[in-house]
């Protein structure tokens, strides 16, 4: 018996898949308008169904079951199935809503592009893959969705396939992600070997009993099984969620059209890793080593990438590095066992970062595809809607109350502060310093783009105008959650029981409870009020304000100073401008290295040794021997007779003594 809700579960991803296939195969036939109508209708339906599911889940709905059996081997089934709980329902809503905004925005942004239908097909397919990923009830399907979003990301980054930079970036993105996926796949293999199943609930249920099992990967070194599994899975998350050192693909992926940057590289795909770790909380909780690793990697990403954002001049790249840094914040939260804070930040960030990307895209359209902020300025007079929404996004990013980013980010900082893990000390410094830097670069972008004197050329200046409604409407719609959801959902999501059983935290790791208690006791205010009150005191809020003031001073009040600083601190500037040299290192060691080794193996190993020496060598030996033998076959009867006599003589001398 299939219940109504089960129908809804299956219909949600299908309502994205079917339009994607139709648009992909028949887009040329049905035309542009029809293509965007069916794909948008599909995603709108998926959003609606997701909201129904979320509502159902909050009135007690829950589902964990098989859709179909994919394969089996050695008596173990591999299934495709759904796990619908509070975590996946909440992710579905975020994914489909952001995707819907992006679909609408695309009508305006890609208006003149010849690949219009193809683009809609891709983004719908992406939404399908992402839904399969978050709805999965097992590791295999998670990996399916994982790789499928990687595929669509590859296709979308290389969407403008005649740009050399775009097709370089998409290959790079795919390969770097594959490095992470290798770790992930090995993690899955470890789970399969020791748990005998890939089903989440079965694995989580027995996880505690595997705590004392060790694995010997390097002879003589016994490592805890759960630590190995968690770190392998986390390597996968590092690839997809762009954590140092696997972050290098994300900035380059900005070669794709802007709606993609918003959909994939800010709001949804990159958060897959965060979602995955939160989903795996019953495993990660049992390995403090893994949690420490997660926290260190996250804080490195948060701090280092925020610093790079300061020196970028390409408007999309600033937002891209900001994304990296914010993903670092989410990862830190995971490491501190504040999973719900990570997911909360994931949600708020999805909206405000999609908003910032789409606002940047709106600016780029107005600038005739110019992305360099040094050639912008003063745009607020011509683009009021883009400007206002960008301000909302920037305030949310900087973490100023009451914008949504303030609540989610501050919760993370407090959680790290309360964490007892060894890595928490370093992480706390990194995330608080990050607040100042974030506010600075966010407002540097805002001031350079929208304030000051216009620096573009005459021609562009004459044509600057506000973007069409299809572009600005999604901006306004995204501005609402960027402003509102923080204050409304913080209390239930972080301190309440919002996620219920879908996230598991050991009592001794429960930092969020500690944070919550410390507020409740102090003041007579509500928890929300005291949270803000607390932040106002020595809290990071003042760091954010200081960052904004500094940005204002350097880019509005005294715009000549940044050049001076750049001159004085050239070596620091160079390090940041080169992004710490990750790209050069990878290019030299891995890309060129692999080709060099390959060439050597081919020229030396294949051509010279195997073919040259062994194969053709044996052929040469055979032909040499045959040359000698050929002389024997002269055709003269007396030669043969002579040979026969010799042979007979030899045989006799050899055998006769034996006979005696």
């Amino acid at each position: 018996m299939i219940t109504n809700m089960q129908m809804v579960y299956i219909a949600t991803p299908l309502s994205c898949l079917i339009p994607a296939i139709v648009a992909g195969l028949f887009g040329w036939k049905i035309g542009r308008a029809m293509t965007h109508t069916i794909t948008i209708a599909g995603v709108a339906l998926a959003s609606l169904l997701s909201l129904i599911i979320l509502n159902d889940v909050y009135s007690g709905g829950f589902f964990n079951g098989v859709v179909y059996v994919w394969g089996s081997s050695g008596g173990f089934p591999f299934e495709i199935g759904f796990l619908i709980d509070k975590l996946s329902a909440m992710m579905m809503v975020v994914v489909t809503l952001v995707s819907l905004m992006v679909h609408i925005y695309t009508i305006g942004y890609m208006h003149d592009d010849p690949g219009y239908q193809r683009f809609f097909s891709y983004i719908s397919l992406f939404t399908f893959a992402m839904l399969m990923l978050v709805m999965s009830n097992n590791f295999l399907q998670l990996f399916f969705g994982w790789e499928a979003v990687g595929l669509v990301s590859y296709l979308l980054i290389g969407f403008w396939y005649d740009r050399e930079t775009a097709i370089f970036a998409n290959l790079k993105a795919f390969l770097v992600n594959r490095v992470g996926d290798l770790g992930f796949l090995l993690g899955i293999a470890a789970v399969f070997m020791y748990f005998g199943t890939l089903d989440y609930s079965a694995v989580f249920a027995t996880a505690a009993s595997k705590q004392n099992i060790t694995m010997e990967i390097i002879p003589g070194q016994e490592w805890a099984l759960l630590t190995v599994i968690c770190i392998l899975l986390f390597i996968g998350a590092m690839g997809k969620s762009a954590q140092v050192p696997l972050h290098v693909w994300l900035p380059d992926s900005m070669e794709g059209p802007t709606p993609i940057s918003a959909l994939i590289h800010a709001a949804t795909m990159v958060t897959a890793g965060i979602f995955m770790v939160a989903r795996m909380s019953p495993l990660f909780e049992l390995s403090e080593t893994a949690l420490n690793v997660v926290m260190v990697i996250g804080s490195l990403t948060a701090l280092l990438m925020a610093l790079v954002a300061i020196v970028q001049n390409d408007i999309k790249r600033v937002v891209a590095y900001s994304t990296l840094s914010q993903l670092g914040y989410m990862t830190v939260a995971l490491g501190a066992s504040a999973y719900s804070a990570a997911i909360f930040h994931l949600g708020t960030h999805a909206f405000f970062k999609a908003l910032l990307f789409l606002a940047a895209g709106s600016v780029i359209i107005a600038m005739h595809h110019e992305q360099d902020m040094r050639k912008m300025g003063g745009l607020k007079n011509w683009m009021p809607w883009t400007y206002i929404t960008a301000v909302v996004g920037s305030l949310a990013l900087a973490g100023i109350p009451p914008f949504s980013g303030f609540f989610s980010k501050d919760a993370i900082i407090e959680a790290v502060h309360a964490s007892q893990l060894p890595a928490a000390g370093f992480a706390y410094i990194a995330v608080t310093a990050g607040v100042f830097i974030t506010a600075f670069y966010a407002f540097r972008l805002l001031f350079m783009t929208f304030h000051g004197k216009p620096r573009m050329d005459e021609h562009t200046l004459r044509h600057v105008k506000e973007s069409p409604m299809t572009v600005t409407l999604p901006l306004m719609l995204l501005a609402i959650p960027s402003l509102g959801i923080g204050a409304i959902y913080m209390e239930p999501m972080i301190f309440g029981d919002f996620f219920g059983n879908s996230i598991f935290v050991l009592p001794e790791h429960n930092v969020l409870e500690l944070v919550g208690q410390s507020f409740e006791g102090k003041t007579g205010l509500s928890l929300l009020g005291s949270f803000i009150y607390h932040a106002l005191h020595p809290g990071p809020l003042w760091l954010a304000v200081a960052g904004i003031v500094l940005a204002w001073f350097l880019y509005i009040e005294r715009p000549e100073i940044p050049a001076l600083i750049k001159q004085r601190l050239e070596w620091i500037y160079n390090i940041l401008d080169k992004k710490y040299g990750f790209d050069e290192f990878n290019q030299f060691v891995f890309a060129q290295g692999a080709r060099k080794v390959g060439n050597q193996l081919w020229q030396k190993g294949e051509v010279k040794v195997i073919d040259g020496f062994f194969v053709n060598g044996s052929a040469r030996v055979v032909s040499l021997v045959s040359k000698v033998i050929r002389h024997v076959q002269s055709g003269y009867v007396y030669h043969y007779a002579f040979a026969m006599i010799i042979g007979l003589f030899l045989l006799l001398t050899f055998f006769l003594p034996v006979k005696q």
């Binding site: 179909y68 059996v69 994919w70 394969g71 089996s72 081997s73 050695g74 008596g75 295999l140 990996f143 399916f144 790789e147 499928a148 595929l151 590859y154 296709l155 290389g158 396939y161 005649d162 050399e164 097709i167 290959l171 795919f174 390969l175 594959r178 490095v179 996926d181 290798l182 796949l185 090995l186 899955i188 293999a189 470890a190 399969f192 070997m193 694995m215 990967i217 692999a594 080709r595 080794v597 390959g598 060439n599 193996l601 081919w602 190993g605 294949e606 195997i610 073919d611 062994f614 194969v615």
Partner: protein, 497 residues
């Protein structure tokens, strides 16, 4: 009914007789009639083999569709056929791909059409014979017999260097199989004058003998797979072979090596298989890593795909010699899937070669501008070759990695590197050939795939996606036979001390 009891015989002899008929029908003056006849034979053959799947009993490991007649009674050589869940999928793969090859040759082969079509049809029958023979001599007959049409295909319709390539191919495979014949003769006496392969499963053999037999079989099968370092005939053969030859070579002939390991090495000499598994695994991992790096730097597309095949076959032998269900079934699925994918990729190169007469990556660039539909097909097959989930390429690799991990973490890690490497060489090639600005006027004037090409590429695409999304039907037919094989390989055959 003839049909019920002689399904395997019919499947073997129908294409052979059809091939001879095509030969008799004549020369290039009535080329079209020959093409249609060949297609009709291939399609009837495909329909004939489908009951092998639909009527297959998945619950038993016993040989099915058996036929047994005396052939040369003095030496107790029998005409003995039968298939299990390991052999059956390969027969369907063969009959399916022969249809594709016949369609793909339609407008491409214009000289000696009858001989070309006949060679493929006769080869089809012989290859199905290999997969269904249960008598060692019969097996050997089919095994050597199928070399001849392939030798001719490369030698007659091949490229400039075809003589070197065809002779290298022939000698390599012939030398390997001679040792196999010696092994058969030895086993004949050990098994009390029997050439029945199933009888060999019960012979007690000491470890040294087992090892010698193992190497005799290894010589035949490792060359076919091909395993490193006896693989160098393959890139040459592929480069020189016409498209159809490459497809059959990569998609089916290579699979006979893997099939041989499962049919002979594992069940007949299990103790040697265990003792030498480290050796085979090492060679397999070298193939996966070393060959992948070599593939990365190739400038000839066919050579690149040939090296990619060797690298993918490394997965197969790795999976077989970790001795668990995931490994063996993964290796089997990998072989089937590689049949579709490598066939499809060679056909893709063929499509471009027919138009531009070049296989060099450097001569292309921006093909997507002039051939968008083709670019979409090739994207799918390139992704499948990179093992993307949802395509058949993933299933085998995934299962083998699961199996290898149980044997050793490092096996799985090294094998898993293919995730990165296969994507690197395939997609890098794709980028240089398909993406980018139009490289030259010739590329700009390319015409997109025609209806005939769309037909065979779509057929392959359906299977690549079908097996990727739902491999269960394929896996289910293997379970009983693989379980049985695992039991056999776990029982020692050393004589009692």
């Amino acid at each position: 009914m003839l049909f019920d009891t002689h399904l395997l015989s019919l499947s073997i002899w129908l294409p052979i007789i059809g091939g001879i008929l095509v030969l008799v029908l004549g020369g290039d003056h009535n080329a079209n009639r020959i093409r249609w006849t060949a297609l009709a034979v291939a399609i009837v053959e495909l329909l004939l083999t489908i009951p092998l799947f639909t009527r297959f009993d998945k619950t038993t490991a016993a040989m099915q569709f058996q036929e047994k007649y005396e052939w040369i009674s003095e030496f107790s050589i029998n005409y003995h056929l039968g298939i299990d869940g390991i052999a059956m999928p390969f027969i369907l793969l063969t009959s399916f791909l022969t249809v594709i090859v016949v369609i793909s040759a339609w407008q491409v082969i214009e000289k000696r059409v009858a001989q070309y079509m006949a060679a493929f049809l006769i080869m089809e029958g012989l290859m199905i014979g290999v997969f269904s023979a249960l008598d060692a001599i019969l097996f050997y007959f089919f095994w050597e017999g199928m070399l001849i049409p392939m030798f001719l295909i490369i030698g007659i319709w091949g490229g400039a260097n075809r003589i070197y390539a065809s002779i290298k191919f022939f000698l390599y495979t012939l030398l390997g199989s001679l040792l196999m014949l010696v092994a058969f003769l030895y086993l004949y006496y050990q098994a009390d004058h029997s050439f029945n392969i199933l009888d060999y499963h019960d012979i007690k053999l000491d470890l040294t003998t087992q090892k010698l037999l193992f190497f005799a079989f290894f010589a035949a099968f490792a060359v076919k797979v091909p395993m490193w370092p006896v693989h160098t005939w393959l890139p040459d053969a592929h480069v020189e072979a016409p498209t159809g030859g490459s497809v059959i070579l990569a998609a089916i002939m290579l699979k006979m090596g893997g099939y041989g390991f499962l049919r002979f090495n594992l069940p007949i000499v299990p103790d040697a298989s265990h003792a030498l598994s480290g050796f085979i695994i090492t060679l397999s991992l070298i193939a996966v890593v070393y060959i992948a790096l070599v593939a990365l730097v190739q400038s000839d597309m066919k050579k690149l795909i040939a090296y990619s095949s060797i690298s993918h076959m490394g997965f197969v032998t790795l999976g077989f010699f970790v001795f668990n269900a995931q490994g063996i079934e993964g290796g089997l699925v990998q072989m089937i899937s590689h049949g579709f994918i490598s066939g499809a990729l060679f056909l893709c190169v063929g499509v471009m070669y027919d138009r531009l007469h070049s296989r060099q990556i450097g001569d292309y660039g921006g093909v997507v501008h002039s051939m968008p539909v083709f670019a979409a097909f090739m994207m799918l097959f390139a992704m499948a070759n990179s093992g993307l989930p949802g395509t058949s390429g993933f299933v085998g690799e995934f299962l083998v990695i699961l199996g290898a991990f149980q044997a050793n973490f490092w096996f799985a890690l090294l094998a898993g590197l293919t995730l990165i490497f296969s994507a690197a060489y395939t997609l890098w090639m794709y980028k240089r050939v398909i993406f980018g600005k139009l490289a030259n006027k010739k590329v700009a004037s390319l015409s997109d795939v025609n209806a005939r090409e769309i037909i065979f590429l779509s057929l392959l695409a359906v299977f690549v996606l079908g097996v990727g999304v739902w491999p269960l039907p394929l896996l289910e037919v293997m379970h009983a036979s693989v379980d049985n094989l695992l039991t056999q390989v776990s029982i020692s055959k050393l004589p009692m001390p």
